[in-house]
Symmetry: C2
């Protein structure tokens, strides 16, 4: 009887691996380093070895394992083909076939941000929903969209690239992608620092933020302490993100927006700033969409990867 599966979250520095039962309980999780030498040629053999060692250690036989899901930092199509993962040195490769060949087990690969969204739907902030958008507010803004319980991959693996929605017309600074005025320039941790610097330059009021050490965390800590300038910065942030999510709602009409990434550590207060402006800009038929915080943190990837292979291969 199949009762286990593995979820793998492949990052640029470490590979996180989780052993799950099919109900979503993680039985064990551990990490191995990501060895990037030889154009990343050691990575999949290292992962295969780690999984085989764990099976030996726990005397799990192949027949008890549904398969291995894996989230990868690059665009992955529905057939499991990654189209360049620059952080790993990879070109084009069919991960389902290569890792599946090494393990002689079913393997299902997806993009890491999309896979994290699937994890949050399965066991996290979006639990119980089948139509969900995860907005990951970290150094950049990533995203993953779940439609009817499945990842929306898109034609070239760019489904859910919500950080690069054009949201401001007259932005002088360039985004990492080369465009000007992307959502990521205002709603990421880096973006919040930019908004804060601009606000502190344009107003003369005193603020704890003038003492230096500007960060997204410092801004929201100051908001909680009642700092007026920090509150204005949070309103700006909420306006940009609320407007962006309102646009997304008219396209995919999710039940819930889940906010994750480092910025989401600010807590429930974040949802308030965002939903206020969401309500202002959104189409009336999408007004009831909920806002929730992600709950799985850095484990979202292994959960989603496990769910990916369960959905793909269970009877």
């Amino acid at each position: 009887m199949e009762k286990y599966c593995f979820g793998v979250d492949l990052g640029g520095t470490t590979v996180k691996i989780g052993l799950f039962d099919t109900e979503g309980t993680v039985l064990e999780k551990w990490e191995i380093p990501t060895r990037k030498e030889n154009y990343g040629g050691e990575i999949l053999p290292d992962i295969a070895e780690a999984i085989q060692d764990k099976m030996k250690e726990r005397t799990i036989v192949k027949e008890e394992v549904i398969g291995v899901g894996i989230g990868v930092p690059g665009p992955v199509d529905d057939a499991g083909v990654v189209h360049k993962a620059v952080n790993l040195g990879w070109g084009v490769m069919n991960i389902n076939e290569v890792l599946g060949g090494l393990l002689q087990m079913p393997v299902k690969a997806g993009n890491d941000a999309n896979v994290a969204a699937l994890g949050e739907m399965w066991c996290g902030g979006g639990k119980g929903c089948h139509n969900m958008v995860l907005a990951t507010l970290g150094t950049g803004v990533g995203g993953g969209i779940i439609v009817n319980g499945k990842i929306l991959t898109g034609a070239t693996g760019c489904g859910g690239e919500i950080g690069h929605i054009h949201i401001v017309d007259d932005e002088p600074d360039a985004c990492g992608c080369g465009n000007h005025g992307c959502l990521e320039q205002y709603a990421s941790a880096t973006g919040i620092v930019r908004l804060a610097s601009r606000k502190l330059t344009s107003v003369s009021e005193d603020s704890v933020l003038r003492k230096g050490g500007l960060s997204a965390k410092a801004v929201f800590d100051a908001v909680k302490a009642g700092d007026k300038v920090a509150c204005d910065i949070a309103e700006d942030f909420g306006m940009y993100l609320g407007k962006g999510l309102a646009m997304i709602a008219s396209v995919v009409n999710p039940e819930v927006f889940v906010l994750g990434g480092g910025v989401s550590k600010a807590g429930e207060i974040l949802c308030g700033f965002v939903s206020k402006y969401y309500d202002k800009y959104v189409f009336h038929g999408c007004k009831d969409t909920q806002f929730k915080l992600a709950t799985l943190g850095n484990d979202a990837g292994i959960y989603g990867a496990a769910k990916l292979v369960i959905d793909g291969y269970s009877a």
Copy 2:
């Protein structure tokens, strides 16, 4: 052997019905009036009778029919429940069950704009694609999104409501939906007339458009005749729609955008104005998305309705 299906496009004035084979060939199409008395209570019995009469006429037996697909002017969930169709006088009703009960055949209902998108994917401008966005540029801007060959319905049936994406911050006029600055206010036939009126007021140059009879058709006819002011209006239109479609691309990443509705009768020239600004605003991973014109015109609805029931009930 099942070799036929019916596609129904239910409008506020007439009901279009098509008899199809399962390959997408329409064998016959005809119309009946939409009788709205008794809160629209006659509509589904009328449709059932029209289909049964046609089967008798052609000596088609039930066993030869896959079923009946129907597009409805209102939000329809994946179970076939319409949540109010104000134009018809309908409240909440499960169309699959009611019409299916009358006909004793499988029935599958969807929103009319979404169903039209499915039709254009099956036999029209999006033929051969499985990830597509239809933008219907008529009195308003409607839309339908196809992901992996299926309609994206969304949590409350608002998937693809792309006409109500917020695109302009300082718009004084209200959209029909109550918001200000929706895509529909610039990219619909009505929107183009608004853009034209504003342009003619703000510039002093001569233009054939000053002779009155302003319409979207008049604007694009003047563009084709080389009228400078009309070209500037078309650039404005292309900027708003190109920007809106670029936002949509970062969310659902389609292979193709299909432009339909009355405005699309302007022809290929339209795609040029839109794709120019799309390229400017879009995320680099979505640059290769194609722009095509819808080809099925008013028949898109019956084609899509037929496809809906084929996908839902064929083996």
